[in-house]
Symmetry: C2
Subunit: 381 residues, 2 copies
């Protein structure tokens, strides 16, 4: 129940046992085509370009940045957590001029301040992290994308911790390039990075003058391998594609709306329990909280490492702590994919209460009971 990888369903493990075929076998392309089809609704996009990068979420991030950044380009970034810093790092390695609107880790950018920043900087690229895994913040994107397009900038969005667990809404937001991973909301093992690119961004890519510095992440070549002439580019990790297809089929069978509602309800039940114990969430406004990754403030005087050690030693439950400026200050609790269940929420609240008590914290009330009350009032199917 950390920030990922999360639990994987048996069907997905079984899919990896299927015999591999060649990366140029028509059967493999049919597996890829199924993935492409199933990814559309999960991303919330009708983009023709829906691809899977043969690497982890960070490979998706690097793909998004290296294909659309050219040396000297102004790259505007909303920086309030670790993954914004990683985007800055990669963009600078490409020779971009990075400009950042900064907030402390856990901050959220309001529409007006985001718009002012973009209008002032007039960048060629804008990036924001929709789901900031280091802080638990959900960043709204519609205003950012709207203003970015006014100044003719493309928008890159990190949805590593939202895809499959809450709406990403690529088209509705106006996002040009979105990337994610397989091991969080999609509940698949790590190893693949789904990516989608808008027609506007594909047009920009075709006009690009300097070569993309990466061959492995060159989207035009990857597109040609999967969708165009099937010209060999690399040997796709076949077993991982079997796993991803199965994970996406499970999502399709559950139905996206039911799935998102399940994540939302378990998130809200968890918060009901947390607040009943007298604990506080790190992100104050519910509208800016991720359903998938919940950050809880560590109470004063409690050592978070000791609490987590009790959870893993006594209950076999893994959650993670904060890092960087949030070291020792928050717990990070993943409620994603197959891990987002009523049973997990109740189990964790009870275990957390016990661990906190053992470390000297006196809860204001019973967390598990409060969550049960929440479920009783707003039952999920």
């Amino acid at each position: 129940m950390g920030p990922g990888p999360v639990m994987v369903e048996p069907r997905v493990y079984e899919a990896m046992m299927k015999p591999i075929v060649s990366h140029v076998d028509p059967f493999f392309y049919s597996v890829f085509e199924d993935i492409r089809t199933l990814l559309g609704p999960v991303f919330g996009t009708k983009n023709q370009f829906r691809m899977v990068i043969s690497g982890t979420g960070t490979a998706g991030m690097e793909t998004a940045i290296v294909n659309f950044t050219e040396p000297g380009m102004k790259f505007a970034l909303f920086a309030a957590g670790y993954f914004c810093d990683r985007i800055s790092d990669i963009a600078r390695r490409q020779g971009a001029e990075v400009v950042r609107l900064e907030k402390p880790w856990g901050g959220h950018f309001a529409d007006d301040e985001a718009a002012d920043f973009i209008r002032r900087e007039k960048p060629g690229l804008v990036a924001f992290v929709q789901a900031e895994t280091s802080t638990g913040v959900y960043q709204r994107g519609k205003a950012i994308c709207g203003v970015a397009h006014e100044v003719d900038a493309l928008v890159i969005t990190d949805c590593v911790t939202s895809l499959g667990g809450m709406p990403v809404n690529v088209d509705d937001n106006g996002i040009d390039i979105a990337y994610s991973c397989s091991q969080k909301g999609l509940s698949c093992p790590p190893g693949l990075a789904p990516v989608t690119v808008s027609p506007r961004a594909m047009e920009r890519l075709r006009q690009r003058r300097s070569p993309v510095p990466s061959f492995y992440f060159d989207l035009k070549l990857i597109d040609d391998y999967y969708e165009g002439s099937h010209r060999y580019h690399h040997t796709a990790p076949i077993s991982m594609f079997y796993a991803l297809r199965e994970a996406l089929r499970i999502i399709d069978e559950e139905g996206l709306e039911s799935r998102f509602e399940r994540h939302r309800q378990n998130h809200l039940a968890f918060i009901a329990g947390i607040e009943a114990m007298g604990l506080r969430m790190h992100v104050p406004d519910e509208r800016n909280r991720l359903w998938t990754l919940n950050t809880v403030r560590v109470p004063d005087g409690i050592e978070e490492v000791k609490v987590r050690k009790r959870l893993i030693d006594e209950h076999g439950i893994e959650i993670l702590g904060g890092f960087g400026p949030l070291t020792g200050k928050i717990f990070r609790v993943g409620l994603m994919g197959a891990s987002s269940t009523r049973e997990n929420v109740l189990l964790l609240l009870e275990a957390l209460e016990g661990a906190l008590r053992a470390e000297g914290f006196r809860p204001a009330g019973a967390g598990r009971a409060a969550a049960e009350e929440f479920y009783a009032a707003a039952p999920i199917t």
Copy 2:
């Protein structure tokens, strides 16, 4: 029985069914440590730095190039096949000045001509493909490495199609940076790229002035994640690591010498059959032939696509043809890992003979019988 991915043993598939853990779980580091230990003998190296890149063989190639190339650096290359061209492409994307000693696809570079080229060009980096998958050529490396070191150049070696199936001999050759893949001689599904780096090259990396353009492939960061402070870099594809460990254990159980001898014998038996039928190998000198990837000249007047279609339709055997300048001119037959067996050699020779006959070719003699004779004279365990 194409150039890979090759057959995977059931134990390796089963390993992928094991529940995933977090990428920062001590258990995962122990899996990685097993892989690191087992990779040493397979690479033929005592290098401390033995790493696995979370991508396919091409990701290994890109890692080797981006970490050790700086803009303007002279990069000398032995070019006689497709993968040399790919190395050139990636090196040029890094701003390197690429100089190439060229031969037609399938050529091999003798020690003297290799030495002359390096002494003349005095490059900062030299690359050669030990196992050229597009042509079947095994390129000797000792003279190349020796002369490269005389002029203070580092040597990058592609052993994608040799690792696990024949000796790579990193230390004995004097190779500085070697990369490979998981789905050929190691008989694992595709998705990982083993890499090793010599102490001399690590020292060069520490002295590097410009930032490595790739974050995902930045070896210093990857080393720090696995071996140093375990500082988070990316979420490793856990299930693939389970698979790779199991594949390496199988190699360890077989014993490297037995395994290499198995590959050599099956390769020689296959050639005995091919030559008995009156066919010719594309690589004339046995010393320059890969044991793992066997290239057979298509006889005059025969359409290779039709032969391959018969093999797959009538026998379920997949081999591949040549591409680029070798399109229609060669068959490429993989005898690697779990696919390198006496049964496969005999089955393929018989099927190939039938398919060639059906297309109008008249074999000089019986291929299968010749291979059986070879095995009888030089039995393998």
